[in-house]
């Protein structure tokens, strides 16, 4: 295999990455623990756990349940808060040479704007992921990503704060009637890219206790179970917005799975739940995908992005 002639690099707005395999927010903590398994510089980028303004305890346990080919989680965005994050976690990543996509989450439009301003002013950030799959406390707890107007307002606020200093990647929820409409809305508001999909809302009931298994009752469904939903969502959005880069995720366990999302239209791939199964998954998948692309005759990764829309049967 002649990897030398293979160009694995990818681009999200103004950010360049030597390869398209990223971690998924919330599935790699803030990088440190994963670095026991591989050098973080090997992968395209580390996407950090979505961070909020203040420290968060997260939700009560149990926070997880295994489901067929997937899992539910209800962590509740436990984290140190943006200031500690920028003081401790981000510098560690920068020091270790990891390209970093910082993921932020807020409960109001203003919180998102303020968070993004702080991130903009921090050195070493490749891109900003705006996780809008959180409840909007100012609007009956409606999830931002499930409402066109709220989604637009958040991204507009972030864009005003960040300008063109950092690519803004809006992370979408699949729990909507029309994900293309939401995608168009946030792109109209200034998003440079899209991350999709976040988890699907699910529930497991423990048949011993006869109560919901999670303390929070509902949780987010991730893992290979949801991959067909991710592929469909990416395909639909890439068809509607072919020039907007997509960070694809949802159930990627192997290079072949990553390839599916790339063919659907993803310019980068985040590996989430798979990392719990195999802490080396991001590097393994990076290598497997490269092999597949080379075997299919691609000389540039970017040529494969959205290829399923173009190829004839």
């Amino acid at each position: 295999m002649s990897h030398e002639v293979f160009d694995y690099s990818t681009t999200l707005g103004s950010a360049h990455f030597p390869n398209p395999i990223f971690t998924a927010s919330g599935c790699a903590a803030n990088g440190k623990e994963l670095s026991a398994f591989f050098p973080l510089t090997d992968i395209g980028a580390v996407v950090t756990k979505s961070v909020m303004t203040n420290p968060r305890s997260g939700r009560a346990t149990p926070r997880m349940a295994e489901t067929p080919s997937g899992m539910l989680n209800a962590i509740g965005l436990q984290g140190p808060g943006i200031d500690t994050f920028l003081r401790e976690d981000l510098p560690w990543l920068v020091e270790h040479g990891a390209r970093t996509v910082v993921s932020i989450a807020g409960e109001s439009v203003d919180e998102f704007a303020a968070l993004s301003r702080k991130v903009r002013n921090s050195p070493g950030v490749s891109a900003l992921e705006v996780n809008i799959s959180c409840p909007n406390v100012e609007n009956r707890g409606l999830v931002f990503a499930c409402d066109r107007a709220s989604a637009r307002e958040v991204i507009e606020g972030v864009k005003r704060s960040v300008g063109n200093s950092l690519p803004i990647i809006a992370k979408l929820s699949p729990d909507v009637t029309d994900i293309v409409a939401i995608a168009q809305e946030v792109v109209g508001a200034g998003a440079d890219g899209l991350a999709m999909i976040n988890t699907l809302l699910g529930m497991v009931i423990n048949t011993e206790t006869m109560r919901p298994q999670l303390a929070n009752k509902t949780g987010g469904l991730s893992g290979p179970a949801i991959r067909p939903v991710a592929v469909r969502a990416i395909y639909q959005v890439h068809a509607a917005l072919p020039n907007i880069p997509i960070v694809g995720m949802g159930g990627v366990l192997t290079g072949n799975d990553a390839f599916e999302l790339v063919l659907a239209g993803a310019s980068a791939i985040s590996v989430g739940t798979a990392t719990f199964n195999d802490p080396s998954a991001p590097v393994r998948i990076k290598n497997e995908l490269a092999e597949l692309l080379v075997a299919r005759g691609f000389t540039r990764f970017s040529d494969a992005v959205g290829f399923a829309h173009r190829a004839q049967a």
Binding site: C27, R63, E66, T275, F276
Partner: protein
């Protein structure tokens, strides 16, 4: 948070043997690279099924014994209680099968430099990691008493070899099928006279009761807890429990990297399954 990162490795380990011991299966795995670095209290996370299994998450097991040399170049042993689908699958592996193992994980029991009078308390398979701890304590000239409890005789894990590493071994079963009828905490007086430190591994209820006994007696109880873990390596934040830090602040800490062993005093036993009021970052 300064997690104790153990630099675990991931390795396909051959099953050397799998023997039934009462209600449990005793598995020996060839685990060179892992075995050398095991300290008592560490655990491993093992994946379940083949690459097409619907079960994605690893299962965690305390390390019973580990040898760093030998014909297999280093082995670890675990005691598996077949429970749900995953642990049952692991318990059924045959010699020559391979299991993907990540380890060693978690912190270890702290070993006092000087000789102590230690009480080791195990509930069910929880006694397993206490035997290698007993060995080390004895090497340090400590006096080691062990108390093991379970619902019934076949759930008592106290192999003959293990008995050699302790000065005394008391057994309690709830149904009285072996040892004293009752709970393991019934085995020793609440005053813990003549005990400097308690090491415990078992169900949360047992750990909580022991912590209370230790508090009354002014004796530290080192508790190995068991929280549901999705990753075992510190990535997911599923395995948290409320623990008071040195400054008195309750935080939700990851039992896979900052545990599984905690000072019983620090753990907010009644707050498990909640966010105790005042916890750092609790919703207002």
């Amino acid at each position: 948070m300064s997690a104790t990162i153990n630099s675990p490795i991931q390795s396909d380990c051959e099953v050397i043997s799998n023997r039934r011991v009462g209600a449990y299966q005793h598995l020996t795995l060839a685990a060179p690279g892992i075995s050398e670095r095991v300290r008592p209290g560490n655990f491993v996370a093992i994946s379940v099924g083949d690459s097409r299994s619907s079960m994605l998450l690893r299962r965690s097991f305390a390390i019973y014994q580990s040898t760093s040399r030998g014909p297999f170049g280093g082995t670890i042993e675990i005691i598996v209680a077949p429970h749900g689908a995953g642990s049952t699958w692991i318990s059924q592996r045959a010699p020559h099968d391979r299991l993907n193992v990540v380890g060693p994980l978690g912190n270890a029991f702290k070993i006092p430099k000087d000789p102590v009078r230690a009480l080791l308390v195990g509930g069910g398979y929880g006694s397993a990691p206490l035997f290698p701890l007993a060995e080390i304590l004895r090497q340090k000239n400590s006096r080691v008493e062990m108390a093991v409890g379970a619902s019934t005789a076949e759930r008592i894990f106290a192999p003959v070899e293990g008995k050699r590493s302790v000065h005394s071994l008391a057994i309690a079963t709830e149904d009285g099928s072996i040892g004293v009828a009752g709970r393991v905490t019934d085995l020793f007086d609440n005053s813990l006279s003549n005990i400097d430190i308690v090491y415990a591994c078992g169900p949360m209820g047992m750990l909580k009761a022991l912590t209370a006994i230790g508090e009354r007696a002014g004796v530290t109880v080192a508790c190995a807890v068991e929280e549901s873990m999705a990753c075992g390596v510190g990535l997911c934040m599923t395995c948290v429990l409320p623990v008071k830090d040195k400054t008195g602040v309750i935080k939700m800490v990851r039992s896979c990297v900052e545990g599984p062993i905690f000072d019983g005093d620090a753990v907010q036993w009644d707050g498990i399954g909640t966010i105790p009021p005042g916890t750092y970052g609790a919703p207002r």
